[in-house]
Each structure stands twice: as C-alpha cells, then as structure tokens.
C-alpha cells in the first residue's frame, strides 16, 4: 500500500481540508444566528464566488489582459456568457417583481466615463478589479493585501466627493427592461463576442472548459445574490462603508459629505457589518479564496517575489484610484460591468468601453512601475 508521501499526497491534507470546510460552514451558521438567515446566505454566496473565482482561476482583469496582450478571448467570452445567463433570468424577474428586486441602472456622465477609464488603468496595474482584489488578498497575493485597504479608503473618498462629480453633468439612468431588454442585451453581447472572435489570434479562439464552468457557476451565484438580497452583486459600496466605519470610530466628522451625511448612509454606518449586503459577499469572497489557496497543496507556500519600492508605492496609489474611480463610475467590473449590463443598464456598456480603453494603458504602465517580478 502506498504511503501518503509515496503516492504524492501531502500528509495531513485531509484534516486540514476538513477543518477549512467546517470553518466556512461555521462562519455561515454564526452569521445566520447573529444577524439572520438572509445574511448567512449572503455570506455563503460570497464564499461561493471566492471558491469559484480562485478555484477556476477566473476573473475580470486577467482575461482582459489576455485579450489585449495575446488576443486570447476565452476568459472574456466566459464573462459575456455569464452576463447573458444572468440577463435572461434577472431582467424578466426584476420587471415582474419591481421594488423587491432592483437593477443596477446608473447615470452616464463625464465623471462616470472618466472614472471607468481610470479604473481600467488601475486594475491592470495591480492585476485585480473589485472582486479580483478580494480574491487575490484571500489567496495570499501581497500586492492585493496592500491594494485592498487602499481600495476601501479610495472608495470612501470617492463617495465623499461623488455629488460634486455628478454635478459636472450626467444623464438620468438609461436602460432596457423585461424580455425586450433580454433581446437587446443578448444581441449586444453577441456583437461583442463576434468582434472578439474576429480579432482573436488564430488557434486561440476556443472557449476553455474551465472558463465555461466558471461562467455558469458565477451566473448562478449572481442570480442567488439578486434573489436573496434584492439587489445585484456589487463590491465597491461595502469597501467604502468599511472605511467610513473606521473613520467614524476614529472620531472623524462625516457631516461635511453630502453622501455620507445622507440619512441612509448614517443608518448603514451605525448598523452591523453583518447586515450589509456587499460587506458580507466581500468577506465571503476573501474567505472562499483563502479556503481554495489553503486547500491546494503548496497553495500558500510560494515565496513572495522581490519588488522595488516604486512598485509598492504604485500599488498603494492604484488601490486608492481603484476605490475612488469606481465610486465615480458607479461601480467596478462587478457592480457596473457585470451587474449593470446583466440588469439592462446602458451605463454598464459605456463602463465596459471606457475601462477597456484604460486597461490598454494600464498594461503598458505596469512594467515601468516595477510590477513585473525581477528575474
């Protein structure tokens, strides 16, 4: 009989993995008992996002980078499929149950477009978008561990100034609804997919199986988020709220900000994090990614690459910009691109175009900032 070492298995992997599963289940159960079943379910949805995003190495920034640098569209195809799957269910559901369920429809404006462009730059600098930064932090990426707190502070600051930026000029929220919205959205997604297929490198046009699986699971989790929470999947609001709570705890006066002094904001700052929708899914994403990284043999034992000081400074700056710009843009890849388009918002499409343009620039900036590991 082969021993654990002889068969290539790491001793004690089973107890470690059982402990990870048990800890995740206990966390969900604890939130259910302390805050209510709905909030425990939302933590479970977040855990699911973390498990699938890290487990299948799926995300937003990486596939965009693959398309721009190598003309590999597989990951982007999967994003479009996931968005389409959500749209098919979400748009008719929101039309039928308006009020209980809301769409991620936001106004298009100058600051929104500029914010999405800057977000695209910053997310390629740190190689992580809203969900990607959470996943990477949970899986032990040191860049994300620094970018995440900066992201939260930036989100807080962006929300502080948000009304000033929207006053520069913006349209009312525009979008499509119901089954007509499904048809328009699917047609738009198909058009983008056809364009990507056309410009993709030969021999690299196929959709990878792991990407397809990830797209289906992410779509199912996003729909679960909508049905349980009553709102689409988002990331950025929760991060800003964490910083707002921290600022308040340190004695800061937020009454000078029209955003944070608004009644709803004051109520949420004073309420438990364990009752905030996006905070719970964000926490779940970090935990889920940690579970996967710990589950893998050697997942957390890789050594951290040496980076120059300017890379860490760039990371902190990009983290702040990720947070600030995503508030101006009414969301990140998740809240604006994924949830916006899948619930019929025109701003999601504009966000996509602006952030993709920014990504092209961000990819070029990354080596100059010292963020490619030394060899």
């Amino acid at each position: 009989m082969a021993t654990g070492a002889a068969s290539g298995r790491v001793p004690h992997a089973l107890p470690r993995r059982a402990a990870l599963v048990l800890a995740a289940l206990l966390a969900v159960l604890a939130v259910m008992i302390l805050s209510g079943i709905r909030y425990g379910l939302l933590l479970a949805v977040g855990l699911g996002f973390g498990l699938v995003l890290e487990g299948l190495r799926f995300g937003f920034a990486g596939p965009w980078r693959a398309m721009i640098l190598r003309r590999e569209p597989s990951g982007l195809f999967a994003q479009l499929i996931a968005i389409g799957l959500v749209a098919i269910v979400a748009l008719p559901l929101i039309a039928a149950r308006g009020g209980e369920l809301v769409a991620a429809q936001s106004p298009i404006g100058w600051a929104m477009v500029g914010g999405a462009f800057v977000f695209g730059i910053a997310m390629q600098v740190v190689l992580g978008c809203g969900s990607g930064t959470l996943v990477n932090a949970g899986s032990g990426n040191p860049i994300a561990a620094l970018a995440l707190p900066a992201f939260a502070i930036g989100s807080f600051a962006g929300a502080w100034h948000l009304f000033w930026w929207t006053d520069l000029g913006s349209l009312p929220p525009l979008g499509v609804t119901g089954w007509n919205g499904v048809l328009v959205t699917l047609a738009g997604l198909a058009a983008v997919a056809a364009l990507l297929h056309r410009i993709a490198a030969r021999g690299r046009r196929a959709l990878e199986r792991r990407h397809l699986v990830a797209a289906v699971v992410v779509a199912a989790l996003a729909l679960a988020n909508l049905i349980v929470a009553g709102q689409p999947w988002g990331v950025v609001y929760g991060l800003g709220l964490w910083a707002a709570k921290g600022a308040t705890a340190l004695g800061a006066d937020l009454s000078g900000s029209p955003f944070w002094a608004a009644r709803e904001s004051v109520e949420r700052i004073g309420a438990s994090l364990l009752t905030d929708v996006t905070s719970l899914t964000n926490i779940g994403i970090v935990l889920g990614a940690f579970v996967v990284a710990s589950w893998r043999n050697g997942g957390l034992s890789a050594r951290i690459p040496t980076l120059p000081v300017r890379a860490w400074i760039a990371t902190a700056g990009a983290g702040l910009l990720l947070g600030y710009s995503s508030r101006l843009a009414f969301g990140c890849n998740v809240g604006a691109f994924f949830s916006g388009i899948s619930t019929g918002s025109l701003h999601g499409w504009v966000w996509f175009a602006a952030a993709f343009a920014g990504s092209v620039l961000g990819i070029r900036m990354r080596p100059a900032l010292g963020l490619e590991a030394r060899s």
Partner: protein, 61 residues
Amino acid sequence: MSVETTGMTRRISALFALTLLVLLVALDYAANPPNPYRVPSIIALGSGAASAGGFCGALPD
C-alpha cells in the same frame, strides 16, 4: 529563468488580509451588534419588502 523572491511566503500576506478582516468584523460587532430578533425575510424575492441595501450604482436620497 528564475524570479527573485523574498524569504516570506504567501501565507503571511493571506493571514495579514484575514487578520484585517477579522479585526474589522470584531470591532464593528463590539460597536454595532446586530439584532437577531429583528431580521428581514429569508430572501428578498416574494418578501413584499422594498430592496434597501447599499449599492455602488445607487445614490442616497
């Protein structure tokens, strides 16, 4: 081609991130404990209640 590395592993940075999260939740719990006797329905769909969570795409009234 090899990549220069530090002496630290990814376990350190993962635990750093988790510690920050645990501190955040613990401190918030101490300051703003949730009320388990005042909870919304299990799921929003079919609850009859308006959606009320904070979202990055929405502005406060």
